[in-house]
Symmetry: C2
Subunit: 145 residues, 2 copies
Amino acid sequence: MLRLSKKSEYGIIALKHMLNQPEGAIIRAKDVASLYNIPLEAMAKTLQTLARSGIVKSCQGAKGGYVLGRAGDQISLSEIIESIEGPLGIVDCVVGASECDCVQLENCNISDSFQVIQKQFKLFLAGISLADINNEMEMQHVVWH
Amino acid sequence: MLRLSKKSEYGIIALKHMLNQPEGAIIRAKDVASLYNIPLEAMAKTLQTLARSGIVKSCQGAKGGYVLGRAGDQISLSEIIESIEGPLGIVDCVVGASECDCVQLENCNISDSFQVIQKQFKLFLAGISLADINNEMEMQHVVWH
DNA sequence: AATAAACCCGACCTTTTTAGTCGGGTTTAA
DNA sequence: TTAAACCCGACTAAAAAGGTCGGGTTTATT
């Protein structure tokens, strides 16, 4: 059902939080977790995932933590979600690289249309940046014509 | 993960199939199921669900089956999906009527933005009709600016 | 050098959701 | 009367999501 996973939610919460801290401040998983009632381990794993794809940078060791890897307007919602959940596809057979073994395919009447829908949906998400999310007032430009 | 359920896929396949039959032809669940390799019971239940919300009309008894309830351009993708999967929400706390007991809410920093995103996403799906899906060439008007 | 604080990560368990199946209805054309 | 179809709740099985655990590694501090 078209719903974001908890990990994506946690990731977006953390990223938005980081964007609102002073430039260059190092944020610990622990703090985000306790501030937003997120289970520590889950928050930690999500930030590790985001670090792997470069959306945040990790600083190891004591006094370590995370910093945003880029400016808020250079981080898109589609990137965040794909980092955490893997390549996104409204339906399986439309996910880029992966093979689809769906038994309908031989005679499927909807896969072509869904290629188009999928592509537009991704553009939709790609058009929303962390900076947009951070500033609800500015979200007005996120509009479907 | 932002993916449609199988039942939604089955529903859309069936609806598109029906749209391509001669006007007023009665289509049986059995035929759609065998044509597209869909488990009969699953297909049947999905059509029953669509009938309940008026997207198709059911004809009971021998020689029974289903007919589209409306013209293809009067059936939107969001309607189909919501009929089958219930009210859709990218995140829980954004689903219209239902209550959200998420423990982040007291201090959530993203719910406002997601209200906007959710609304636009729904407009996106509402803007795609069964007739559009049926005619991939026409899908070009489904474009994000 | 030792310590503690933090990130790192695979493995696991539990719960929820999805997918599919079954049995027993009801309706209606022939 | 029969058979073909819709109808529907209940069930099971499989998959995904959510969360937890244990044992690492890295690094600032003392």
